[in-house]
């Protein structure tokens, strides 16, 4: 099967074109040695099958980030043999800058065709776009298309049948050697001189295409930007958008999460009671699956909304707006996108830091992303807050529950700020910190593209976290159902003895099981672990039951809720049931309620800071190439979680 490489600048409409041509018929593949994904799809052009690869959008083959490396690897045939064909996606409104990459790739002599996009924008800015002229200058067939609007787009690549070797609009001796050198990660000498020479050659092409090189003084995007980047309006708009984002996620994700919970409850009911197999399938496998799937609505909706903002061009403005502040924290304006994404799920957000060119800034961003309160913390926060604060309570003018929830989010942000400052002063780098960011023309976001990118992010969550959550869930099932045999035998005897007084055989069976379940957990290996760590967590206000829940949270933080429900012998995993049980518990030492406000706040802080997510640690390892950061972060954030929970508990009691 022939291979087509799709090449172009960022924001040229390349990925939109790719998505529309291939639909959902695409796969991602990681290249060896890199973490950048290239998207592959299959298309049929006039009866012949082609594999089409969407490479990352870049400006030049020479800047040494993983994106350029991936493009070079494909072009030079180091990954999967020499490419057969290249399709250039050229932005008509920015033809001059787009031709730089063209002129570089043209020197490799691969048969090519071109797709010219953004001709409407170009016309609005008085840039003439004469496709036959451009085609003649570049020596390749060119089709004009608007990937966002045009309805009939599938036949646009038919042009590949007439692909020709492109005309070298600029010839630079030693170019291929420099390219090979740059692929090996070395700083290439003479590349800026080469770029200047290329632009001189490009300018003569542009001159022949369009005499007036003037630039119009106003365009709509710049007019919008005056408000969006305004010191007062701009910040106001940013805060409003963020508020709408979170409100939207909470209200939109609630119904589908309810459906998923009901669906799983129904499935669990179908499995016959009794026996280890049924219990294993119900509480080990299905609960594990539920733990993965229940987050998809929130993650999907948040990434969908962020995707809408990205596709419209707004997120780049948010980067522009926040760069000064971010730089003071040792981060970069580009960090804002992964940081906002961190509120959904740290896994795709850590991957999204790849656009930050400076390694130190990228690492610092990856290290603080897990401090953003992700969606797995929400059920824990909700349970704890509703446990100690009745609905409708007000602290002065503030609704108490919402205030505490907001405070939980902000405590994570606060610690993230402190740690980014620490990383700023600890880390060393000889790399220059840079912003240099194109602010693309505002565009109505394309629904299909955004849906697809949100789905791909969910898929990375399922791929990275899914198997880990499932495996840990199964291990936990084992740990909480088995224990030292003398304890287990004693429980069996006791539960039979205790339930003998009940007349109704069904009730008797249920009472026996309930009793056995709770005691089994208490004396199981997990329970013994909870009791073993109890002295360590007692100063934080936690009992051994909380200890078990803390340990089981390593699968995913929300497992806390399910574990507590098992411990308190409630059959339903709903907040109301567990809450009622928890509220009646009395601390034997003080006579006060065991799970009071000090307990709740201490535990919220613990969950806000601790890196209790094996999947995040695994992704961090993947992206940095070493376990060092995952392990250090686990201990460091664990320590901060412990200390702040300790201080909070001691101050409040």
């Amino acid at each position: 099967m022939k291979q087509i490489l799709l090449i172009g600048n960022p924001n040229c409409g390349k990925t939109t074109l790719f998505n529309r041509i291939t639909g959902l018929n695409q796969k991602t593949s990681n290249l060896p040695g890199t973490t950048v994904e290239a998207y592959k799809g299959k298309i049929n052009i006039q009866g012949e099958d082609y594999q089409i690869i969407d490479l990352p959008g870049i400006y030049s083959l020479f800047s040494n980030t993983e994106y350029e490396q991936v493009v070079n690897t494909h072009l030079l045939g180091h990954s999967a043999g020499k490419p057969n064909l290249v399709v250039f996606v050229l932005d008509a409104s920015n033809l001059r800058r787009n031709l730089l990459l063209y002129s570089q790739v043209a020197e490799l002599g691969i048969p090519s065709a071109g797709i010219l996009t953004m001709t409407d924008t170009a016309n609005r800015r008085n840039i003439t776009t004469n496709i036959p002229h451009i085609s003649k200058e570049l020596g390749i067939p060119i089709n004009g298309v608007n990937p966002r609007k045009d309805k009939n787009i599938t036949s646009v690549l038919d042009i590949i049948k007439e692909a020709k070797t492109p005309k070298q609009i600029s010839t630079n001796p030693g170019f291929k050697e420099r390219l090979e050198l740059s692929l090996s990660g070395k700083k290439v000498k003479g590349s800026s001189e080469e770029t200047l020479r290329r632009y001189a050659d490009i300018d003569s092409v542009i001159k022949r295409l369009n005499d007036g090189n003037g630039i119009r003084s106003h365009f709509n995007t710049a007019k919008i930007d005056r408000y969006v980047t305004h010191p007062v309006w701009g910040l106001g708009i940013f805060l409003l958008i963020m508020l709408a984002l979170f409100q939207g996620v909470f209200s939109l994700a609630d119904p589908p999460m309810g459906w998923i919970e009901h669906g799983f409850a129904f499935v669990k009911d179908q499995i016959p009671d009794g026996g280890y197999l049924g219990s294993f399938i119900r509480n080990g496998v299905i609960s594990g699956l539920e733990g993965v799937i229940v987050f998809i609505p929130q993650i999907f909706i948040l990434f969908f909304l962020i995707g809408m903002l990205e596709d419209s061009g707004y997120m780049v403005r948010a980067s522009f707006l926040s760069d000064r502040l971010m730089r003071k924290l040792g981060l970069n304006g580009r960090s804002i996108i992964p940081l906002v994404g961190g509120f959904a799920c740290a896994i795709p957000s850590i991957m999204a830091t790849r656009s930050i060119r400076n390694k130190k800034e990228r690492l610092a961003t990856m290290l603080v992303v897990p401090l953003m309160s992700c969606s797995a913390r929400i059920p824990v926060y909700v349970l704890l807050i509703s446990l100690v604060i009745p609905t409708g309570t007000f602290w002065g003018p503030l609704p108490a529950q919402t205030t505490l929830m907001t405070a939980a989010y902000f405590s994570g942000i606060f610690v993230a700020i402190i740690f980014s400052l620490i990383y700023k002063f600890l880390g060393r780098t000889y790399e220059v910190s840079e912003f240099v960011l194109e602010l693309p023309t505002y565009q109505a976001p394309r629904f299909q593209t955004v849906l697809q990118s949100a789905w791909l992010k969910c898929r990375s969550f399922i791929k990275e976290a899914g198997s880990i959550i499932l495996i840990i869930s199964m291990i936990l099932w084992g740990l909480s159902n088995f224990g030292p045999s003398e304890d287990m035998n004693r429980i069996e005897a006791e539960s039979i003895a205790l339930s003998t007084g009940i007349d109704d055989p069904r009730e008797q069976q249920e009472a026996k099981e309930r009793y056995a379940n709770a005691l089994t957990l208490e004396y199981s290996y997990a329970g013994q672990m909870g009791k073993y760590i109890e002295p360590a967590i007692e100063p934080l206000g936690y009992d051994w039951k909380t200890g078990i829940a803390l340990i089981s949270s390593f699968a995913a933080r929300e497992v806390f809720v399910g574990t507590m429900s098992t411990l308190f012998q409630t059959n339903e995993e709903n907040v109301v049931g567990i809450r009622a049980k928890m509220q009646t518990q009395i601390n034997p030492k003080t006579g006060e309620p065991l799970y009071g406000i000090a307990y709740a706040i201490s535990l919220i802080l613990f969950y806000a800071f601790a890196l209790q997510c094996v999947s995040t640690m695994a992704v961090l390892k993947k992206e940095t190439g070493t376990w060092k950061y995952s392990i250090n972060l686990f201990m460091l954030y664990g320590f901060i979680a412990y200390v702040s929970a300790y201080i909070a508990y001691q101050l409040l009691t």
Binding site: R96, L196, G214, P231, D323
Partner: protein, 68 residues
């Protein structure tokens, strides 16, 4: 409206050159982020956000506004 006359050599020379900030290119300051940094410029036909330090690499001369 200004025209770029020179691009200083240094760490960011390559990066600015590939973004089209080369001698002969027209450039115009558009607006700044809160605090005056970074600043958005119109370079050729697109908008480029640059930090002050990055813009210092670019030397310019006054150019006539060409209206079409």
């Amino acid at each position: 409206m200004h025209e770029i006359t020179d691009l200083k050599s240094g760490d960011l020379q390559d990066r600015l050159a590939e973004m089209g900030c080369v001698p002969g290119t027209l450039i115009k300051k558009l607006y700044a982020a809160p605090g005056g940094d970074p600043i958005a410029y119109q370079v050729d036909h697109y908008i480029l956000g640059l930090r002050r330090l990055e813009a210092d690499y670019i030397e310019v001369k006054v150019a006539e506004e060409i209206s079409l």
